[in-house]
């Protein structure tokens, strides 16, 4: 087998894999539609305003409800007040 044949085979293989992944992505999104609707309904029933992703502080748990401004209170997209915040690690007991 010539080198260009190997190269073209690898290239085509990757294209096929990528196309397969993109098709499976749209199939998964379509399949998960019902679940997304249930989550949207639950959000409406519980009157939720935020995702439960970052639970460490008020302004990360409910970024849309964070205070506008008060001294030393962070808010979404704010710059860290204390440089130490970008250098120190969380305490050991929080690293679970």
């Amino acid at each position: 087998m010539k080198r260009y044949q190997i190269f073209i085979s690898i290239f085509l293989f990757e294209i096929i894999v990528l196309v397969f992944l993109l098709f499976s992505a749209s199939a998964q999104v379509a399949k998960g539609k019902k679940e997304m609707l249930s989550l949207k309904d639950l959000c409406s029933e519980l009157s939720l305003t935020d995702l439960s992703v970052w639970t460490e502080a008020r302004y990360t748990r409910n970024p849309s409800q964070a205070d506008w401004f008060s001294p030393f209170q962070d808010f979404p997209s704010s710059v860290e007040h204390f440089p130490a915040g970008s250098l120190i690690e969380p305490p050991m007991r929080r690293k679970r």
């Binding site: 080198r3 997304m36 460490e56």
Partner: protein, 387 residues
Amino acid sequence: MIKHLKILEFALSSLLRRKLKNLAIVSVFTTVTMVIASILFLTHSFKKEALLILQGSPELIVQRIQAGRHALIPLSYVDAIKGLPGVGDVRPRYWGYYYDPLTGANFTVIAYPEGIRKTEIIEGSLPGANEHGYCLIGSGVADARFLQIGDELFLQDIKGRVLSLKVRGIFKKSSQILTNDLVIISRPDFDRLFGFPEGHATDLTVQVYNPTEIQNIAGKVKKLLPDTRPITRSEILRTYDSLFNWRGGMLLALFASSVLAFVILAWDKATGLSAEERQEIGILKAIGWETSDVLTLKFWEGASISLISFLTGIILAYIHVFYFSAVLFEPALKGWSVLFPDFRLRPYVDLYQCFVLFMVTVVPYTASTIIPSWKAAITDPDSVMRG
């Protein structure tokens, strides 16, 4: 066509002669593409999921602000807001945060609202609105406290007494992105846990009949009750839009140095021809290759490296984000959260982003390999070979 295949064959042989160098470029190119594509996939999916789910959030929320901070809102405000034209139902929301010293986690406690329905995302049953001593919890809370349906969840109320709640239902793991840290309890239990003063709620949700009037109603509420802060649904959605852009930006900043290193490597490789490569071009010209043939050869060299690296990078990024929950970014994403959802993102892929990534990686790399070769190819073969 045959000519191109033969030139491609020659280009691949030429690349294989400098195996290690080109292998290093392919691996760095692939890694950089994978990292950038992972960030794009992750932030896009996060954003898309947040924006779809939060379409269900209240049209308008009214919070009370006191001394620059969020304060409890008196229920007397309900009637005042209800009196505004265009306003439908106004409901108080009772919710708060509970720091759990046992696990170091923060729970979000909500008083059981009316109208909640049992769906497939809830395991077990729902406690009745007036049933004391029962709760419905998120799977993050269940995992942190090793709870199953029928077990007791012990919390400490404001007076230090133990509040025991029997777990009636648990939100399924597939809903973790919304429910991971939730503890839903009855109003009397909520009042006991937090010692809520009579006639107060955390905030109010306002139903607005005409969606185009929401902003207008928000302005009227602010005018009527100056110590309040109305938050509209569009503001919530905008927050999430900017939040995920920021998270993506943070990750990009973390990897900016590696991207810069790649740019320097690619630039150095692509713009400066080695003596060996210049000699090779000189020999090809001397044996009768046209300038256009040399440029085609260099195009195929650049294109074969960048295309394979780009495709491999994109495929690896997809697998990393959607099959392995972006495990490489977990430390940056998780932050200090004790309860972090182990969610599987739905694969929302933006083809436009892939196209932009293609344009900023493959095209410049291929182009920058052609330009120096063109310079060498148009000079006299004899002087090129002599260096």
